[in-house]
Assembly symmetry: C2
Homo-oligomer: 174 residues x 2
DNA sequence: CATATAAGTCAACATGGCTGACATAAAATC
DNA sequence: GATTTTATGTCAGCCATGTTGACTTATATG
């Protein structure tokens, strides 16, 4: 037991095994992502509960708000869920007046999605809660740290297409 | 259409509204968290599917591996789910030999939870996939960025108790 | 005209949250 | 020693949100 847990004696303090440290650092990152994401979604979940909505509704509202006039296929591609799953929540959002549909002009098979005023109000409430949370975190750290945070998140994103959405705001850096 | 999408002409480049930029920065953070977390869990989900397990199993395995000998109550407190929800997955993990239970010594009502060898093997597989993903992201950026990433995630975590788990590895910085 | 595509629908099923009610064993308290 | 509290587990049922598969309708495109 003891011989497994403790690294070889003597050199421990000064030459702490870099492989162990690296591993521990990575494990901490995993755990921090879990807790941070839980709290991040938590602030929105509380609001959604007032409306009888869930996270699925939030995601739809978020992306429609972000890309007004997007098609149903666009939304499916971003969310990576099935049409049937999406239609359950999208149907509710449309019926309850949070999202409007409009036939496409070039392609009239498409239904272009937009938030109504009511939808925008909800989106703003949800987004404000999450932005406040993140703004608080950003405020406590320097601009460097914020940039580091962004870079690491970009690195975690596997999909090149997703990544491209974010390369715009900040300078290319190459 | 066009007048909605484009910001007012002329002054955009040089005097870009700092409030708008801040807002856009925060909105991007929200979106990046969504995509990064989706991919982060995605690499584990693929493995879990091989075992017929879901994310709930993963979380239990993860925290039991991280805190061997923890009690059921401890786990409930970390996961913030109900006993009934936990027992559904924990029961499977125990029955299929991934987790062992052992009566507490001081308090024999407690069931101390540990991964079996089989459980540790699965934990290692899952963790390795996620660590690889994060290691890749860490490798592309500097140590500064990693530190910034950690700081921002800590700032997002509301709960002081959760936060304390992470203040150990890195220097206090005050 | 034939085929492909965008969207929607119905039905059935799985996972993993939840509530509420209750049981058992062991610890803690009066 | 009797009572109460705590740690754990269990049964039953509900809800949200994901899945697959089959099929329809309208429209675009070759």
């Amino acid at each position: 037991m003891a011989d497994i847990k403790s690294p070889p004696h003597g050199a421990t303090k000064l030459t702490a095994n870099p492989l162990f440290l690296r591993d521990e650092e990575l494990r901490q990152a995993i755990e921090m992502l879990f807790f941070a994401y839980r709290d991040f979604t938590g602030v929105a979940d509380e609001i959604l509960a007032d409306y009888g909505f869930g996270r699925a509704h939030h995601r739809a509202i978020y992306f429609i708000g972000r890309h007004p006039g997007m098609t149903v296929s666009d939304l499916l591609r971003i969310l990576r869920i099935t049409k049937q799953s999406l239609n359950r929540v999208l149907g509710q959002l449309i019926e309850e007046g949070y999202v409007s549909q409009q036939k496409g002009v070039q392609d009239r098979r498409q239904r272009l999605l937009r938030l109504t005023d009511k939808g925008r109000a909800l989106e703003e409430r949800l987004s404000a809660a999450q932005r406040t949370l993140i703004a608080g975190a950003y405020r406590e750290v320097g601009a460097e740290s914020v940039e580091g945070f962004r870079k690491v998140l970009l690195g975690i994103m596997g999909n090149e297409e997703d990544r491209e959405r974010f390369e715009r705001l900040l300078p290319p850096r190459r």
